[in-house]
Symmetry: C2
Subunit: 242 residues, 2 copies
């Protein structure tokens, strides 16, 4: 079934005109006609069955038939990573969306080559991934800041979990034990740090370990590409009970 | 450091002539000269420091200086998946290599579109991924067979763990409990099944659950693309103690 993310608010029986892009996708690309159904959803209203009333290449008219999935917010899960090559960054954002990240923060580190990210493009990648994987919400893409700035502005409610390939990392089970044995830690939201190709510098590791409650996570014996580390790391964080 | 997988057997002080492809890569692409070092490795001899004695575009002469990593075999870990689009299949093989799969079996199922795989190309993808991620061995790519044939020839020492998105799956923790409470199960090698886009058919699920000791694994609440499911599933299997 075709799923589209809605900026509009969704109410049963409402009729509304789609924007250019969604109209084009439904009526031209997917060739939906009058009476055809699709799913229209967002994080505030849940998922609705929608019907094409008037197909149109640029401003299709639709009607919301009724809610088919209630509102269900993703559990907050943060990812901090460095920009990679264009396709690889797209890929990392797509996969992080499938793995449930709710906030994707880009950071510039000592060994980061790229220093810009195209937030708008990546937000579109995240939207498409959310449509495909049956999420109701889209992760928020945050523009690049220096690691230093990210640490100075560190939100108190996050628990930094830093992927480490140099042997200093603990297994996810050991981290789960630390978390469950500490009331404060237990209430924090996980935030995964993935270093750039070349890893974090020693100074950066020091700064990261100085953060309250920081944990180093072992992703296994092999050296993972950054985009693989995103998926492996988030998969492991998803095994934490919370 | 440049790492290359060696078909030759490796012994300290041995001199040998590289093949066309490796000579071209080292001397033309990477521009290594006389006296430059690289790493040469395989699963039988470990990893050696090697030096270019005579650079040459097609038959470079090298000398093995000494072993720098001992032999270390990957723990056996099997993956059964359906062929995807070309780039996506490459991707799945690359990531499965990084996640430690030792045998990648391609299967044809009721909802599989592609029915061929280019074993040679995928074996090259696996080689390159192994070189990058510091593995000493390369996963074996097995040519496509029908799921039926795979099940008829099912090796006794494997434990089928089937990724399921329809709610029948258990958490990796529940599966770990089952495994640790059963002596026979505990001795088996995990084999992860990832269904095609569209999933396994009901009949296939029945056939899979009829296998001895089969377990259904929950990969989380979202619908993952097949290639994402490969990484997430293998990451979870890697948390099993064995």
């Amino acid at each position: 079934m075709i799923r589209l993310y809605a900026k509009d608010s969704l109410v049963k029986d409402k009729e509304l005109e789609l924007n250019d892009k969604d109209s084009h996708y439904l009526c031209t690309v997917m060739r939906l006609n009058e009476g055809d159904d699709f799913h229209y959803f967002n994080e505030n209203d849940g998922e609705f069955l929608a019907k094409i009333i008037k197909p149109h290449k640029k401003k299709a008219l639709i009607k919301l038939i009724g809610q088919i999935e209630p509102v269900k917010k993703s559990k907050e899960l943060h990812l901090y990573l460095c920009p990679l090559k264009k396709d690889t960054t797209n890929f990392a954002v797509e996969k992080a969306t499938e793995c449930g990240a709710t906030h994707i923060h880009f950071i510039k580190t000592d060994y980061t080559n790229a220093t810009r990210v195209n937030v708008e493009r990546l937000q579109a990648v995240a939207k498409e991934a959310a449509e495909q994987c049956c999420r109701l919400d889209i992760p928020k893409i945050l523009d690049i800041v220096s690691l230093e700035k990210a640490l100075i502005e560190w939100p108190d409610h996050l628990c930094p979990i830093i992927a480490a390939e140099d042997g200093r990392g603990q297994s996810i089970k050991a981290i789960e034990k630390s978390i469950s044995s500490c009331d404060t830690l237990n209430k924090l939201t996980p935030a995964l740090f993935i270093g750039p190709e070349g890893g974090f510098s020693d100074y950066e590791f020091e700064r990261l370990s100085a953060l309250d409650y920081s944990q180093f996570l072992d992703l296994g014996p092999l050296i993972l590409r950054a985009e693989t580390a995103v998926v492996v790391g988030l998969s492991l964080l998803n095994t934490l009970e919370r």
